[in-house]
């Protein structure tokens, strides 16, 4: 083997290393670019009024825009709507998802459980816009109107498979001895699940719930067909309601309101990233 060939091979190896480092580093660019843009254009909008006042009407925004004044109002209607719909969705999705995940973990060899497991993947991969259509057919049409309930049903359908998956996986990696000791001490399966397995898996399940919430909080398409949006701060669940991502979509489509878009996006982005980081931190802590 001659020297130049070895040199070439070593050079290739080095080139590859640098290439990979460079390209991998480049993927951080969009994150920084998006964070930077939203932060720079949005931070000065965050004020008390921004979180406590509803969105202005097109007329008020237009007048303010023409006069060159800052747009009055905020996104309180969206924040309230997001919280209401998310709250309702979590209340239903968490128990359902955890029980379903427990069933899959307990019966991992069972045919029915395998089937359900496949369908969970399927549901998780279903585009959110289709969840919107389905909720429209199931809830909006029979109720004869858009509502917060419909919006939360859509969010719930999207959260369930995520929670099922995380619960199932967390329970499966618990040491089998845990369950065996519980059973040997005379507990029945239900007691062992409630008193031993679920508490032991709590960290993982909680992380999963946080991630599920962060995943659906930014969903826009399904809410367009279900919650519709509303410019009032509303607490009723059978009426159209707004949500932060819906407001961003509204602002995107209205140049008079466009100034508000960055503040709203910053709020949503910080919320989602905070949830993500918390989940990651908890997962790490729980793993130790």
């Amino acid at each position: 083997m001659d020297r130049s060939k070895i040199k070439r091979r070593l050079a290739k190896d080095k080139l590859m290393l640098w290439g990979i480092c460079l390209l991998a580093a480049l993927t951080a660019v969009p994150l920084l670019a998006i964070l930077g843009e939203v932060l720079l254009r949005g931070y000065h909008q965050l004020s008390w009024a921004f979180f406590t006042e509803p969105t202005p009407t097109a007329y008020k925004a237009m007048k303010a825009f023409e006069a060159g004044e800052p747009i009055p109002g905020g996104i309180a209607n969206g924040i309230v709507g997001t919280m209401i719909m998310l709250g309702m969705a979590v209340i239903v999705a968490v128990p359902l998802g955890v029980l379903c995940g427990a069933c899959l973990a307990e019966n991992s060899k069972n045919r029915f459980a395998l089937f359900v497991s496949y369908l969970t993947d399927l549901l998780q991969g279903t585009p959110s816009v289709i969840i919107g259509i389905i909720t429209y057919i199931w809830v909006v049409v029979p109720m004869k109107g858009y509502s917060a309930i419909a919006g939360s049903v859509a969010l719930c359908i999207m959260m369930v498979p995520l929670i099922v998956r995380s619960t199932e996986e967390t329970l499966k990696i618990l040491p089998a001895s845990l369950k065996e000791v519980g059973l040997a001490l005379g507990g029945n399966k239900a007691r062992v699940m409630m008193r031993v397995q679920l508490p032991a898996a709590f960290g993982g399940i909680f992380t999963g719930i946080l991630l599920a919430v962060s995943r659906v909080i930014g969903e826009t398409a399904p809410l367009m067909f279900t919650a519709l949006g509303c410019s009032l701060i509303r607490f009723s669940v059978d009426k159209p309601i707004s949500a932060v991502p819906l407001l961003i979509w509204e602002f995107f489509n209205d140049p008079n309101l466009q100034e508000l878009i960055w503040g709203a996006s910053l709020f949503l982005l910080l919320f989602v990233l905070a949830l993500n980081l918390t989940a990651k931190y908890l997962a790490k802590k729980w793993n130790q």
Partner: protein, 353 residues
């Protein structure tokens, strides 16, 4: 469940009203919450009107700017008290629904807005506009454009038409005009709330189109006049039916309604052959059911709906139209509408005496 919540809601509204220091002047009935949906074209005007109405009458009106197509669908599904539409219902659409009443609320113009560096004034004829949107005139320095605009430096760049991605009364007004002035347009594309434009790019709602135009060099699009005014986007001077080049103003829009108006007010006033008329002018309507007892609506709600419409037709409201870049209704249209409202019933009994 639904009823419990709506009664809680009404209670909340009542409390809010009471705490507003007796703003509710309507002694005859309780304050109502009305909901409507539809056109974005008159949205800023409706915002002002509904806010004033809430102060004068105590009734709250929630209006969603979902586009004329969406508004009419919501009315057909009977989930709203009224629909806003820039296009009157066709005979076919009317035949598929229970009887409705059209009430014009104001007049407006669709402007042809553009984004061209350094071009302050652009003159266009109807046929040229049709050919641009049909993709036949592709470049800004096309000789038909330069012939109309001597001395204007039009760039050698491709024209980017911008249009609506949703069903829209604005699209109807615009294509109705194009179909009247261009046989080619009538045959190939026709007039409607949604038309298959062959090239360019689409955006949602009037404001969305205004936004894309202001963000895209060398683009041209059609929007409700107030959105172009507010965004300070320049718009073209259009040649009308008698050959004058006219800018959209309250006067030139009003001039378009000089002709006769049918009893049900369903009429198109585009390409009007009156002197000084802006050719892409139109009425915008609120559409309600003739029989107001549907989907469990109360008589009070029906009364509130009619109060609202009468309020809109009043001189007090019509005078503020031009303030928000619209034009007031001609007297004839107001008279006809008042007459039409008398035919509106609740359980078969006329609501207005």
């Amino acid at each position: 469940m639904k009823q419990i919540f709506s009664s809680i809601m009404t209670l909340a509204v009542a409390i809010a009203m009471a705490s507003c220091g007796g703003n509710a002047k309507n002694g005859a009935r309780e304050a109502q919450e009305l909901s409507g949906a539809g056109a974005t074209f008159p949205l800023p005007f409706y915002n002002v009107v509904f806010e004033n109405f809430a102060q004068v009458n105590g009734d709250i009106v929630a209006y969603g700017g979902v586009g004329s197509g969406g508004g009419v669908r919501n009315l057909r599904d009977k989930v709203v008290d009224f629909a806003g539409s820039d296009a009157f219902l066709t005979d076919k659409e009317m035949a598929e629904m229970e009887p409705v009443v059209h009430v014009p609320t104001c007049m407006g113009a669709v402007v042809v807005a553009y984004n061209l560096d350094g071009v302050k004034e652009l003159k266009l004829t109807g046929e040229v506009v049709a050919d641009i949107f049909a993709g036949k005139i592709r470049m800004w320095n096309d000789e038909r454009l330069t012939a109309l605009n001597p001395g204007v430096a039009l760039p050698a760049e491709a024209i980017i038409p911008v249009f609506r991605s949703d069903g829209s009364g604005t699209t109807f007004i615009f294509t109705d005009y194009l179909a009247k002035v261009s046989p080619m347009w009538k045959e190939k594309f026709g007039a409607g709330k949604s038309v298959n434009f062959p090239s360019g790019q689409a955006a949602k709602g009037n404001p969305g189109v205004a936004g894309v135009i202001s963000q895209t060099k060398n683009s041209i699009g059609y929007v409700g006049s107030e959105y172009a005014f507010a965004q300070k986007i320049p718009y073209a001077i259009i040649q009308n039916a008698i050959g004058e080049f006219v800018l959209p103003t309250a006067e030139s829009i009003s001039a378009a309604a000089a002709g006769t108006i049918p009893a049900d007010t369903r009429t198109s006033i585009t390409n009007a052959d009156a002197a000084g008329a802006y050719p892409i002018s139109a009425f915008t309507w609120i559409i309600i059911y003739k029989e107001q007892n549907y989907s469990g609506r109360s008589k009070e709600q029906a009364e509130a709906t009619l109060d609202l419409l009468q309020y809109i037709l009043s001189d007090e409201v019509q005078n503020i139209t031009s303030e928000v870049h619209y034009a007031p209704l001609p007297a004839k249209a107001k008279e006809l509408s008042m007459e039409n409202l008398k035919a509106v019933t609740y359980d078969g009994v006329a609501i207005l005496q």
